[in-house]
């Protein structure tokens, strides 16, 4: 198990730094084992440096920078160990327009391996979906599907 965990960690670390660099158009990020001698007992540290800045502790990142860094981590886990489907509930809420486009690109690049179901209020994110479910509260206070749009 220890060997597997280490192999996975290295893969996720590789993808995390690639995706961070892509999403932030620069900068760098990495993952560290707090106790490299004993990987299966070790904790995992995260460092993230947006372009042009000094390495900040995670607590100094802005709301949108935190979301974007987290998205880079989620997609690197998906890359190292794909799962058949993934539900994302308003993960784009803190992102500005430019970062939503980058997030969309990453989502699309994974959509052939993983089915994504994404809850969002963002027009830009909705645009790339093949299927759109509209939900509403009916008069009886009951949730129902009100519309469905399927591409092609």
């Amino acid at each position: 198990v220890e060997h597997e965990m280490l192999a996975t960690f290295k893969q996720v670390r590789q993808w995390f730094s690639t995706y961070f660099n892509m999403l932030f158009s620069g900068g760098s990020a990495s993952l560290y084992l707090t106790d490299p001698e004993h990987p299966s007992d070790s904790g995992v540290d995260i460092s993230a440096r947006p372009p042009g800045k000094r390495t900040t502790s995670l607590s100094m990142l802005s709301g949108g920078e935190r979301s974007l860094t987290a998205v880079a981590l989620i997609f690197s886990l998906l890359q190292a160990h794909p799962v058949p489907f993934c539900f994302l509930d308003e993960v784009d809420a803190a992102l500005d327009e430019a970062n939503i486009f980058r997030f969309r690109d990453l989502l699309r690049s994974h959509a052939s391996d993983t089915q994504f179901i994404i809850i969002t209020h963002n027009r830009r994110t909705i645009e790339i979906a093949q299927t759109i479910y509209g939900i509403a509260m009916g008069e009886q206070g009951i949730s129902q599907v009100v519309s469905l749009k399927v591409d092609g």
Binding site: T125, Q140, G141
Partner: protein, 165 residues
């Protein structure tokens, strides 16, 4: 093709039987505040065996069951079913279509179903575990929790990597 359908009945605000069919690619779920979108994400967590009610904005089993509104009486049972296309044998079972279900009653009792037959909670976990889907933290990212991994202590983050191994 992996996930085919999600069926909800009596689960939180979904009093009537509601079916979502999923295609390949990206599906968006949209709607006004309070319309029930996050309840759908909670339903997926729940049917996959989630036992921590606070991660589904609830305290007890009863909170998962439609509590009634001004014009519709409360229900006695909540049921959620996930239907998978298993033609590639991704789930370690003989069937080409596999449905996983969970039911809960006001008594607090929970039932787990595999292709309609009752199974133990343990069996469900083994099924998902065998397919690398063990109550995975990155299969459902709940609202407001996108950056949860950044707030965890380093030791707690290890669980994310163990699942991915």
């Amino acid at each position: 093709m992996r996930l085919k359908r999600l069926e909800l009945q009596g689960f939180k605000s979904f009093a009537s039987r509601t079916i979502f069919s999923f295609e390949d690619g990206i599906t968006a779920i949209v709607g006004p505040n309070g319309s029930g979108k996050s309840n759908i994400a909670d339903a997926v967590r729940w049917v996959m065996g989630e036992q921590s009610y606070s991660s589904m904005r609830a305290k007890t089993t009863e909170d998962m069951i439609f509590a009634g509104t001004r014009t519709r009486a409360k229900l006695g049972m909540a049921e959620v079913i996930l239907v998978f296309d298993n033609t590639t044998g991704w789930l370690p079972l003989e069937y080409s279509e596999v449905s996983v279900g969970r039911r809960a009653y006001r008594s607090g009792e929970n039932e787990y179903l595999l292709n309609g037959a009752r199974v133990r909670y343990r069996d469900l976990l083994d099924l998902f575990g065998g397919a690398g889907l063990a109550r995975s933290n990155y299969t459902v990212i709940s609202q407001g929790m996108v950056d949860a991994a950044l707030s965890l202590r380093p030791e707690a983050r290890r669980a994310l990597f163990e699942e991915a191994a």
